[in-house]
Symmetry: D3
Subunit: 237 residues, 6 copies
């Protein structure tokens, strides 16, 4: 039941890089508001950014053995996704493993547990998203799997899916949908550029997006005010 | 029941700006340790700072429609307070809305949900306090209200109340008490400057604030020590 | 039952400083993966770092009286550990107390509650680890103790224990074990330097640490792949 | 600023009792899905149920003094709402206070902190909703207020508002809206009885509520299936 | 992208019923300690128990529309698994929907949000596992999907997987592995019965499972004691 | 560093039993409001109650090996306290271990992790306090210690301390203070009986405890009211 799959399918390089440039929020919208990992996964430093192909790791709480195993199958451009069999914050990933992964070509790591040596890893500019920062050390006692589908951050991740991470979070793009999502993202980017210009000039979203009739249909009422709401809990005593 | 109030009362400009200069901690103390929003509301970047008049928004989880509605009634110097009808972390506020609000004169936003595009909003230097950072997109399906009293961060906020936010959190000053709170804050500021000088010179709070008799009256005892507490859990084995 | 112990035993200066240089993660490993405070205790600014002898404070939620009492017994090189009798996030520590503690020689503070004035304390470069940031003010109404054993961050801390804090968290080294832990830490440091060089050159942990036979013995299997996992939840519809 | 208001307005007895019979979920819906306290407030025993007029208490973490003060102004039929100035779980309410409140006619209590003596209070059949169960004792050191507006469970509660609590949570009905909410609740009750009968007979909500056209308009598609989703993470290895 | 799949594959009835009799803990162990939903999903009443085929629902926070849609495709013996696109506690499921589902043959429901009408649903003996209990009502505004793979409680659930729920939690058995898991579960049940008898007679697990040599090999040491640990924090003062 | 201490000191039987009769809340108060474990430790069934001598276990997340080891050193009347080296909810304790512990004379267990087989353990009437209920199985891979001081629920527990658990939580009484705490508890019990009678007769705590002068001295003001607080957020629109 515990298995390491040496080789995985990956999306096209060009698609991957474009998805990375678009960023997590745009990509998440472009694929119909799906695939976003839960927001407890935070970058260990501001400005962290990554895109790459998912190499998945299924490990156990307090045990980082399988990350060593995964280091062997990583190819340049990959991003490790480390799922843990139950909720845990131990520091499963530190500077030595970051050194090893970088040497093997990995671009970053997403971790359902804790990260340590965050000062050193930040200096290396190796992007990591984790549930916590913790110096807690781990053992190497129980085996898991590498490159099988896992659930991380509430999302089902299949090896080779495209991972897009930045300050806003981590999005998973199913490999075979990567091209279509990239197209939708590029279109969204253009549309947003147009909206941005109008909004910056002071136009209202209400007008740009034509929202007024819908709001009226839903029953939204306007009153002029001001209303003399009592201000302050003990006002009047 | 869903209503937009176009106009609100606001406190005096001078009072507002002075409260902003005093900062959240001093203002919170000056009004009798009340009005502080709960500490889960954090700035999206270090050094965020805002003061202004509350324009309130009552929305729903995963739905940011009413922020667009609020953009129309914002006046220069206002701060949006976005309450949500149940706990949620979806990214209800992003860079396009920030662009729109800034264009209309808003100074910042406090949000009982998630914020996205945090890199771009940080670059804009548009201060936001939120419950979470999340790329999760939202719909525009259910109407709410603008400029009615709301509860945000555990505090009752009335439109036109003064909002003071910085790294320490967000404080709400009831509009009609703003002048009195400003006075109390200025006095507190002076007193603290005097204490700071004495403390920096090595004097003790025990002496400056005359605490010794009270502590003795409460029964606090001093012993010289050192006591040979066993140090270490397995010491002696 | 409420007592202030004026004097405590401390570890040797050289040992203390060396432990500080090694940092929290290495020290925690060196003493057998014990003594780490729970990861909810976070530094108020990136890059905070401290080492020193524990002066302990046992206080109550919303009451910072005993920190003033502790300021009198602090000696240069000490670190305050402030435990609270029940979970609380109120801002028990601010810039005035930081000024006082620095004037008395304290190097930093670890706090089972909230910290405020974080901008000012960051500018002072006075390192603080806390459970939360909160402007919430506190009273001075109930006495506690100073320099008795306390539990903070889930760790039993005895006055005079060595406290090592950095971005990775806070570790407590029992005073009488400080020398032995320092030795183990120095050895670990050397071993890690050797591993780092090999890992940076692309060697695998699997080989450096001789893990392959153990993994095989546990039953880990390798398959070549790639496997055609369906990518995308609705792929194929 | 700390004040006890001896007398409050109350809603009509008949309205109050009817709202209690309707229960929290129906009343919450009947007033437009507003007024529900957050779900962390749970009854200390299954089957707890209360309705009455809010007597409000604003206290401090770890300090239950003001509940004693409130006991004097309680009238038969009242429900205490105890807000705390910051998040806390200490056992602010126990069997002695329950005995006192019952003797004065109070029907129950909602508490933004911890409850203790839960076995005894359950045997008394005195309904309590709290954030936690905790034996942690409290002091009587800091004064607060009684019968001023407070925020509890995320809802603004004004003295005399109608409180409806049961296994589903606690709802606050503004006093002057109580009659209208009661009417809406009774209508809702009737409509639900009709729906219940049809649903129990196997009719679908899709048909009873006429949802099919809207779903189609939104773009919902039906496929016959079954689809051969791969079942099991490692299926096929 | 939003789709309802009318028909699904199901496991064999006999296998399903046997898995239900074995219960969540045994089934979870029997499939190699996988498939357990996270423990925040709790039954709304003690003694809740269910087994059946998963009909999956993907909905949105505060919106229960798709449960109505799912009611049409449910077959007798099914269990609904309701995933939500972001974390939410609103009361998406109540007594009317329970009445409808029961009438259509559903045996129970697992819900990544809140449940309401818990007294009525308990009286119906309709088992529900949820993240929270909340009276909060929901809208019917945004469509989702039925019978597509979802992630619920941190587990990937495919329509037709076998769901086993009881007081210990909810386990998902991939449909095609159901037979093998049942066999492993029956064997485990027998082995445990033998162990139980020996343990009840006072034999030690150390001897029954032959653990002593392994513990010695790992370096576990025994000392006779008793050790005079100082008992009590302030003992000796 | 990993050690099993076979024998421990225990308090006197009579003292232990009396502390158990007094219950957690009274004992916690009697020892000066100290020693209470944090309230996240909850009994797995209503009405659970235990008193006994602490046999301590220090284990690791997801690993219950050391409970088997502890079963050998348990004596009739003991209560196991299981600490875990980092936060975890895995089901480390189930019905087989409960059977074993009962056969060896243990009276109950307090567990910083998850419990499973809660139906069976409830039927056995074997009291357990845990952080969670979870069917998640565990391994037996890493050794820990038995009968060394541990921190559990935020309290330092020394082997042989008296553990008092009931619906209100778990209190730790240092062994050498057990007699004094018992005396203080018996006195408190008597005083409370007197207060209870007066409170039940409708007397106020304000008078029984003589609180009125202190409240006045602190500045509490009374006003007659009623005050016409606006009731309802949108009242008046």
């Amino acid at each position: 039941m515990n298995v390491v799959v040496r080789n995985i399918h990956r999306a096209e390089t060009n698609t991957i890089e474009t998805l990375g440039r678009l960023g997590a929020a745009t990509v998440h919208e472009a694929q119909g508001r799906t695939g976003l990992m839960q927001p407890y996964l935070r970058p260990i430093y501001t400005g962290a950014r990554v895109v790459g192909s998912a190499v998945t790791v299924l490990g156990h709480p307090g045990d980082n053995w399988m990350i060593h195993v995964a280091a062997e199958v990583v190819k340049p451009g990959d991003v490790l996704i480390v799922a843990v069999s139950s909720e845990n914050t131990d520091g499963m990933f530190g500077e030595l493993l970051a050194t090893s992964l970088r040497a093997r070509g990995a671009r970053g790591l997403v971790l359902e547990a804790g990260c340590r040596d965050v000062r050193e890893i930040t200096e290396m500019n190796f992007p990591v998203w984790s549930r916590a920062v913790s110096a807690k050390g781990t053992v190497k006692a129980t085996i898991g799997s590498v490159n099988v589908p896992v659930v991380a951050g509430g999302v089902h991740v299949v090896p080779g899916d495209v991972i897009v991470g930045d300050d806003d979070g981590v999005v998973v793009v199913p490999r075979r949908q990567a091209g279509a999502v990239m197209q939708a993202g590029l279109e969204r980017e253009q549309k947003e550029a147009a909206s941005r210009k109008r909004l910056a000039a002071g136009e209202l979203g209400l007008d740009i997006y034509g929202m007024r009739p819908q709001l009226a249909a839903k029953g939204l009422k306007y009153v002029d005010g001001p209303i003399d709401w009592p201000s302050g809990d003990v006002d009047g005593i």
